[in-house]
Subunit: 365 residues, 2 copies
Amino acid sequence: LAFTRHVNIAMVAAEAEVGVGTVSRVLNSSPSVRDTTRRRVLEVIARLNYQPSRLATGLSRGVPDTVAILVPYLSRPSVVARLAGAIPVFEERGHDIIVCNVESPEQRDRHLDALLSKHRAAAVIVVSIGLTASRVAEFRRAGLPLALIDVEAPGVASTIIDDVEGGRLATAHLLDLGHRRIGFVGHESDDGIGNRSTKRRLAGYRQVLESSGLEYDPDLVRLGELTARVASDQTAELLSLQAPPTAIFASSDTQAIGAMTTVERLGYRVPDNFSVIGFDDIEPSAWLGLSTVRQPLEGSGQETARRVCALLDGETVRPLRQLLPIEVIHRRSSGPAPNGASREPRLPKSLPRKRTSRSPARVAK
Amino acid sequence: LAFTRHVNIAMVAAEAEVGVGTVSRVLNSSPSVRDTTRRRVLEVIARLNYQPSRLATGLSRGVPDTVAILVPYLSRPSVVARLAGAIPVFEERGHDIIVCNVESPEQRDRHLDALLSKHRAAAVIVVSIGLTASRVAEFRRAGLPLALIDVEAPGVASTIIDDVEGGRLATAHLLDLGHRRIGFVGHESDDGIGNRSTKRRLAGYRQVLESSGLEYDPDLVRLGELTARVASDQTAELLSLQAPPTAIFASSDTQAIGAMTTVERLGYRVPDNFSVIGFDDIEPSAWLGLSTVRQPLEGSGQETARRVCALLDGETVRPLRQLLPIEVIHRRSSGPAPNGASREPRLPKSLPRKRTSRSPARVAK
DNA sequence: GTGAAAGCGCTAACAC
DNA sequence: GTGTTAGCGCTTTCAC
């Protein structure tokens, strides 16, 4: 055993005085191995510190032990949270996780092409990236398990939230506080990657506004890059309007933080004379006291990872389209509209409107 | 070609009417292939949309195309930034990246054991996780290229900063502003994972203090979990001291943000009567106007990835121990000490002290 | 220059 | 139950 390159299954077999088949059976906990034999093999495995080659196993099985996760803009906190939810689930099952970062349509296609080729991944999770029908068909044809987060596709397991409802909740929250001019700062959906959640949240915003008898004013809506910096600029624009809003709903916390910072820098006091609500509930939001619509970010990753494992085990996932709960978290950044800002008298708590928020806003400590 | 499972090298060879060896040579751009042959093979490859199996290639070569990155607490912004720097470099070279998250010594050891086994990774990057000498020896013995970020080991390529100097710079910055009682909020090094950067930054803090004739007061130093929440609590403790500090140096921006938030919540005005400086310069720091010691986070990832590629190519990396530059970024969160807080008269800009900051503080826009 | 064939380390189908 | 053997898809000598 002196110059041995690396211990392989044959060496274990020889040492345990059995055939490689038996070792393989022990490795894969096949029931048809006598207990004494199994014990002997396991002893040798431990003694030799043998670890099966994933490459060889994968090649032989026709599928690697690796799961790929395709994410847009890895550095976004919400994306990281989803990743952080998914990773431990796979690690526990002994899967390697390969992370594919996508910041352009070309990158998306390159990764997808690669992933679709055989021997690349045992399963794929796609986060917040739209898939065409033909892409989905390719996955089906390749027999490659696929699960989606934050996006949907017909016949594909997806874990999502009701973004329209989220938009409604956020807007209703501000309306309840007496705000009547509410700005919207969102992510330009046309980044080529194909996520539409901002669009849906905006729809919810518009719905609540209009069903409350308020006018939808496109001037109050700004769409752009999903960064705090751009959101800052957009907020400044909104505040310089002839009739500026008294509150802003940002379709992500990152943007809400940019908005809040700018609002304060321009001399407003949050929430005394300006309110901000975001979306996601990323970690910094709690520190900064940002009101927001919380969605289970880590939970979505964890849940989807579990579903992928089920898929891998040949099971069929229960509700193909899995809806996760959302709720308004009321923190310091939102408060009653300043006096005179609304044309209606401000009522103590809840305003009589046609549409009210279903979930009561939860007050964070 | 109707029921073909998946196109492999044999099919390409057959279609191009050459041997598999030749296809393989084309794939690996061997010079010893006639140009007309090469062209014909490439044409077939394109037409059949052939993609070599990474598993088979890896098994045959004895090494996979995969690079592993071991990180502590994947959700930390600084960690994500380093990852984001490294990933594109590897993707460009066609490597898959597997991310291993470590939150405990057991997890670290499990991952390291797995990675050390053959056929797991072509190279490994370890971020902010201490490696024992015997671990390093294992890597060397396995012939597995290894590179470190934010930690060092004898004989191993590492990309680091001068943390002691960073601690000095931050402390000197506050001293320059007239602060005389400066709190320190840092990461408890004894998390079992083995990073020592806080310890070194604290050493720098102490050095500057003492060489400025100030007493090092252990009461002003709080070490704990690296979270904004814990830093908040520690800050509250510091402020409730009989002789509270007028400024805090936090050894990470995450903690600095927690400190800043708490300081303001307790009624102080930053920077009017309290100053905060952090470390790292993560993205939110710019939004929040946090003064900090910037280190090239993404740069460290990118640089290390490049060095690993060099290692993979059999080259030898230039300075084994690569020191990245750091600098103080002066933003809104730090300003002159409040009157009467210091026993010495406050001077306009720079105070005559034995030790001054080498790099002039850069003023952020 | 190019084809043929021997592995790489494992799984699974097939005998005994 | 367990040994034997034929692949999995590629790289890499070794002849020609």
